[in-house]
Amino acid sequence: DTAVSQTPKYLVTQMGNDKSIKCEQNLGHDTMYWYKQDSKKFLKIMFSYNNKELIINETVPNRFSPKSPDKAHLNLHINSLELGDSAVYFCASSHKPPGLAGGPETQYFGPGTRLLVL
């Protein structure tokens, strides 16, 4: 069974389009994350939700809007796609939010969604 799954695995689209990436975890975790990995493999957090509520919101253009319909799902919608949005987007989850138990939480990552904007 896949613990953290993402769809689609690959996404090729034109500049200016709007697209969504979906993430689901079956680990029973409360917290989910979105990361962006650029062409140089640099990985940076974008958002985090705990039990459907936004808890981390890094400096990300407001064209990116996360949505968590329930604690097992965290989707990422991107409006007006730009060339610079081309990257691999990783979803992750952890049992609890970082810091709640007095320490960091181990994060479990999905396989990634490879987005190419033409």
Binding site: F42, K44, I56, A92, P98, F109
Partner: protein, 113 residues
Amino acid sequence: AQSVTQLDSQVPVFEEAPVELRCNYSSSVSVYLFWYVQYPNQGLQLLLKYLSGSTLVKGINGFEAEFNKSQTSFHLRKPSVHISDTAEYFCAVSPGSNYKLTFGKGTLLTVNP
């Protein structure tokens, strides 16, 4: 703010040779340290982590890392690598102030026959 430096972007080695992947960090507060591995076209998988206690941490697949507070390092080692260890390895730090993960830029380990 914290940062992570992985000193080598690429490390080529021969099969059965030992390997060390270097990681240094900077932080004004106490930190927790992680190593993740990313196999080709896959997501990240946790190799090992240092939270507290013994500074020598053992992980999966025969890897280990040593936390050295005075040198602010957390180098990853394996005494004998296999071709299947070929992957990108990421060091990450989580400060005690906010527990967010900050990743290094990764080291590509290539194991040749």
